[in-house]
């Protein structure tokens, strides 16, 4: 059996909980939060500006300076990732074997067959499947009506 204090708490919580949840989900609360956040942000900015001025006067870095530097590092990391992706794509292009040439007898005068240039694919292709053609998309858009299997938890 629950102790008396817990029974009282549960009763109060069951009464006030849904009402509070309704309030926090209301537009009225959103408006209050909006104003509160605006004031809080303005105050933070002013405080930071003051502390930055003071720290800079002593030739010391402020939190904003560190944040700026870390943002720069982040931008560099993003660029490195983009470069890595470009290199990976380039590797796919260079390591992919040339399209298979049908086996046939060629005369000595015949011109060598040029490997056809690969068209850039719209969807990203990994190394392992570089030579695999993209499977044809479903022609009939039946996705909305498609029945799905239901799995039941025992």
């Amino acid at each position: 059996m629950k102790p008396l204090w817990k029974q009282v708490f549960d009763r109060v919580e069951q009464t006030t909980g849904p009402a509070l949840a309704d309030f926090t989900a209301s537009n009225h609360f959103a408006e209050i939060l909006k104003v509160g956040l605006k004031i809080s942000n303005d105050m933070t900015k002013q405080t930071e500006a003051l502390s930055r001025q003071w720290l800079h006067a002593w030739n010391l870095p402020a939190a904003g300076d560190v944040a700026y530097l870390k943002n720069q590092i982040g931008s560099l990391e993003t660029e490195v990732r983009a470069l890595r992706r470009t290199i990976e794509q380039a590797e796919i292009t260079t390591t992919a074997p040339a399209p298979a040439i049908p086996l046939r007898t060629v005369s000595a005068k015949a011109k060598p067959t040029k490997p056809s240039s690969r068209k850039p694919q719209s969807k990203r292709t990994p190394k392992t499947t570089a030579t695999t053609a993209k499977p044809a998309k479903k022609s009939t858009p039946t996705k909305k009506s498609k029945p799905t299997k239901a799995v039941k938890a025992s």
Binding site: T24, A25, R124, K127, K149
Partner: protein, 368 residues
């Protein structure tokens, strides 16, 4: 009164006043002892206990491989947790862990832990995860397992990432796709979770000087959903603190629920614009990195798991998913559980996890 007529011990009150007093005194002493230990941080429940090895680090993200001596099923499973919470929810405690269950079932398990974003990650966008980090993780695992492919498992916002990755990279070695509590129709999301946007708060006002949404704001948004939940948790703690097992579970769970991570600012802006404002996933109007994302491009076996009591990602917001993908083998698993209860707790361990792992096992192959 014969012993048979006496009420059972435990939750019922003994009729014998002396026994009652002894029980109450013992209980109070145990509660006092546990409370002291809890306050001092002694014997705290440890989380994320499954032995694991780091495969690589990529920025803040780490790809972990869990040790398993008896891998009987393939392909390996890659778990993808949310961006706004700690990854250890998927490996909470021994006996209460999805990772442990999958290992026990014979799978090789990997997890990508997104880490804690800071200023350097403020510019991260959805593409950072869906076009760079996830593809790299999947391809690495695939190469480590000689091209066996990967079963991809996404939870909550991690589910959005796996979904968009799978749709934008249909040729990547994904063998199965499992989505747990993945919101797609944002018109059904709770209004407290959608407070930022053109009709509400300016997203820039939620982002702090680091360029990210601070962890406190992330936690605050969950608190707004059920404002009295924290108080109820504390009351429950004082009611059951004498129980050692409860204390362990409480400590593990609260260490997760109270420890959110900042949300990268770039992803937050996209979330507000693409998902909340335009509902782009449900309407199939999503464009990432200049290319349209069509969920119909997902053709691998697909499982959508939703919780009927989920108040964070309501069932209605994730229901359309199985119909949006192009998989011929698309299934839906409805669980009588909340957002966390789907994978944590005795119900999850006994009922939910076996169904999920059975589904994956049926679409995996036995290894020699």
């Amino acid at each position: 009164m014969s012993p048979a007529e006496r009420p059972a011990t435990g939750t019922q009150t003994p009729t014998d006043p002396i026994s009652f007093m002894v029980e109450q005194t013992t209980r109070s002493m145990q509660a006092g002892w546990n409370l002291t230990k809890h306050m001092l941080g002694v014997d705290k429940a440890k989380t994320s206990q499954s032995p694991r090895d780091e495969v690589y680090r990529d920025g803040k993200a780490t790809l972990w491989h869990y040790r398993c001596d008896n891998v009987t099923l393939g392909p390996p499973v890659l778990l993808t947790p949310s961006l706004v919470s700690r990854a250890f929810i998927l490996d909470l405690q021994p006996g209460n862990s999805l990772v442990e269950h999958l290992i026990g079932r014979g799978f090789d398990v990997y997890m990508i832990d997104w880490g804690e974003p800071d200023e350097a990650d403020a510019a991260n966008t959805l593409e950072t995860y869906t076009h760079d980090m996830l593809p790299r993780a999947v391809r690495t695992i695939d190469e480590l397992h000689n091209g066996s492919g990967v079963t991809l498992f996404g939870y909550c916002f991690g589910g959005i990432l796996t979904l968009l990755y799978a749709a934008s990279h249909p040729h990547d070695p994904i063998v199965n796709l499992v989505q747990l509590a993945t919101p797609v129709d944002f018109t059904h999301m709770p209004s407290a979770m959608m407070i930022a946007g053109s009709n509400g708060i300016d997203p820039e006002h939620v982002i702090d000087q680091t360029g990210n949404v601070p962890a406190s704001a992330v936690r605050g948004s969950f608190t707004l959903l059920t404002p009295t939940a924290d108080l109820a948790t504390i009351a429950g703690f004082f009611e059951k603190v004498h129980d050692d097992r409860f204390l362990g579970n409480y400590q593990a769970m609260t260490s997760w629920t109270r420890d959110h991570v900042p949300f990268p600012g770039g992803v937050f802006r996209q979330t507000v614009d693409l998902f909340q404002e335009r509902n782009a996933i449900a309407t199939n109007a999503l464009v990432l990195d200049g290319e349209p994302i069509d969920l119909n491009d997902i053709t691998v076996p697909f499982l959508n798991i939703l919780g009927e009591k989920d108040h964070i990602v309501p069932a209605a917001s994730t229901e359309p998913l199985a119909a949006l993908v192009g998989s011929a083998d698309a299934s839906e698993l409805r669980l009588e559980a909340g957002h966390v209860g789907m994978i944590i707790g005795s119900g999850a361990t006994k009922r939910h996890m076996p169904v999920i792992s059975d589904w994956i096992a049926d679409r995996s192959r036995k290894l020699a």
